[in-house]
């Protein structure tokens, strides 16, 4: 018996022999303490304030509440040079992982067999720290149960992006846990495209050391699937973290990003754009903690909603005592293409230092009629004109992507996506 626990859930976790068989000590320890967190905190409930706008049921109930379709992904970045790693139905497809310069790539399942591993100092650590002040038990549940994921140890400047390409074909519930450690002065770009399962619980933990830089670009497409993702990041001195997510598919999606700037002059950007119709429900929940002076953070989110779709943004900037000269920025905007859709925004600032600049804003608007008429008066048909204005609305968030090749690929993809929508 790997652990002893009282609640049903925790017991179930402990009894899942497949997780514990052949497992090394480091992962056993991490899973046990995560199981304890789940047990102590309990799972999210509808009445939890943090789940006010998105019902947690979609990620908790036993059965999927929709017909599962095979989800096709379009490879946006096929033209860009990258190191590709494939996942199918939540399982790593590669027999051998690529060997590249500046970064070691291992699978969680292989590393878990060892008794001692560098990942022991990272796996579940930012996640555990991210449980305060808000409980994120589904992320702890992920730490406790995940058997699939990648462990990236970045020691140099990695030239080409590492791309995880995921497809799902059936009614798979998948739990994925990636960790990335960027060592001092090292750099890497991680791309994630597609979806890991009909329902996915994904955790990405990122540790960026002094002068290191981590870029993350994610594309969530495909048709019906529910995704709950958590990014937990810890930023060392003078480090950079940038994450951008484009969501053009899925049913219920909640993307949480919890960042802690623990080193001076570090810089974090979390940005995203989504487009959806009908049952599309898209939630961005962001929590950025400034724990050191002279750091900057940006949150830039754009949501295009149509025909009953719902967009949610909960974003917080917490500036701790002593985090002077913090520069915090947050903007969330929605473009409502008709009267049926909803955008719910809850921007928050909590500041305990006196010499900081923090600004935030949230807007919700329809298509600009003047601009629409101007375009149409030049012969651009209405639907095409709306597409152009939609693209221009989203473009501002794509500007947050530093790599211009990847930003262009995102824009090209969106243009094509809007044309066939």
């Amino acid at each position: 018996m790997a652990c002893s626990s009282s609640t049903d859930l925790a017991k179930k976790l402990c009894l899942d022999e497949s997780l514990w068989a052949n497992s090394g000590q480091w992962i056993k320890n991490a899973r046990q303490s995560a199981a304890k967190r789940v047990e102590d905190q309990g799972l999210p409930k509808r009445r939890d304030e943090y789940w006010n706008y998105t019902r947690p049921d979609a990620f908790l109930q036993k059965e999927l509440d929709f017909d599962v379709v095979s989800n096709q992904s379009f490879d946006i970045f096929s033209n860009n040079l990258s190191t590709v790693i494939n996942y199918e139905d939540g399982v790593l497809k590669e027999k051998l992982l690529p060997v590249i310069s500046g970064c070691s790539i291992e699978s969680l399942q292989d590393a878990a067999k060892l008794d001692d591993h560098w990942a022991g100092a990272v796996y579940g650590v930012p996640e555990a720290a991210g449980q305060d002040p808000v409980k994120r038990s589904l992320a702890a549940l992920n730490t406790a149960t995940a058997s699939q994921g990648l462990l990236l140890l970045v020691s140099g400047k990695v030239k080409n992006p590492i791309k995880i390409s995921a497809v799902s074909n059936g009614s798979i519930d998948s739990t994925i846990h990636h960790i990335v450690k960027v060592e001092a002065g090292a750099e890497v770009t991680l791309i994630e495209t597609g979806q890991y399962g009909a329902r996915a619980n994904v955790v990405l933990e990122v540790e960026v050391e002094k002068n290191g830089s981590f870029h993350h670009i994610r594309v969530q497409d495909g048709q019906q699937h529910n995704s709950l993702t958590h990014i937990f990041g810890r930023l060392g001195p003078n480090s950079t973290f940038k994450s951008f997510t484009l969501s053009v598919g899925g049913t219920i999606t909640r993307n949480e990003c919890i960042l802690e700037l623990v080193g001076d002059t570090s810089s974090a950007t979390v940005a995203g754009a989504c487009i959806g119709d009908d049952k599309f429900h898209h939630d961005d929940t962001v929590f950025v903690t400034h724990g050191a002076p002279n750091c900057e953070s940006r949150q830039v989110f754009k949501k295009v909603l149509r025909d009953g779709a719902v967009g949610v943004f909960q974003g917080k900037i917490l500036v701790k005592e002593g985090a002077q000269k913090t520069d915090g920025y947050q903007i969330s905007q929605s473009l409502l293409l008709d009267d049926n859709c909803q955008f719910l925004a809850k921007p928050e600032l909590e500041i305990y230092a006196d010499d900081v600049v923090c600004s935030h804003g949230s807007t919700s608007g329809a298509i600009d009629e003047e601009a629409l008429f101007y375009l149409r008066s030049r012969g651009v048909p209405k639907t095409k004109a709306i597409d152009l204005l939609t693209l221009s609305f989203i473009a501002e968030s794509i500007e947050e992507v530093e790599n211009s090749e990847l930003a262009d690929a995102l824009l090209r993809y969106l243009t094509a996506f809007l044309e066939v929508r």
Binding site: A371, F373, R378, G379, P381, K382, K384, L388, L389
Partner: protein, 251 residues
Amino acid sequence: MLEIKNLHVQLEEEDKKILKGVNLSLEAGKVHAIMGPNGSGKSTLSYVLSGKKGYEVTAGSAHLEGNDLLAMAPEERAAAGLFLAFQYPVEIPGVGNMTFLRSAVNSQQKLRGEPEMTAGDFLKAVRAQAKNLKIESDMLKRPVNVGFSGGEKKRNEILQMAMLQPKMCILDETDSGLDVDAMKLVSQGVNALRDGNRTFLVITHYQRLLDHIKPDIVHIMAAGKIIKSGGPELALEVEKNGYANLLEETA
């Protein structure tokens, strides 16, 4: 080319009548000017002809080469050959000027069932036209009209006109906000498009634009009606005596 008969227009939102029976007949190849005090309904006429929302036509008609303009969507009117150079060109952040021009040209060709211009030909044509109008390549890359000066916006309107090659051009106060040099550039741009068949309706508050773009016929509009029409000398009369006399005359 353009036949406007007894056009009555009021606002959709409130019970306010703006055009009260406008009649205009523009033959192909001619330049007509409309002058008139502020608020007389000149811009409203141009908007109604190009299909802007918010106006209700309560009586009358407008036909372009026999086609019922009022029954068409704005983009169809454009494809049929109508072009309005806006009094206040709209800023569109995030849409590049070049992308905008390209979609406009392509869309019109598609709507008319013509083959699309190749990217190379398009680029060549834009460069040549932009050069004539002294439009820097930087202005072509920037978002549509964003951060453009008043004069740049107006030149950009003429660039679009030159690229789209419309049959019927309406220019709404294209001279406002232009200094003398810019006015010359813009007028040259317009005059270069006069080919004996293309028709112009030049709306202006002042006579000075008409020194550069010589009208065949001048109309005076007041309180939603054309109160007087005549030759180019009518514009000079307005310049000298203002609108007051004319208004009294017809009152």
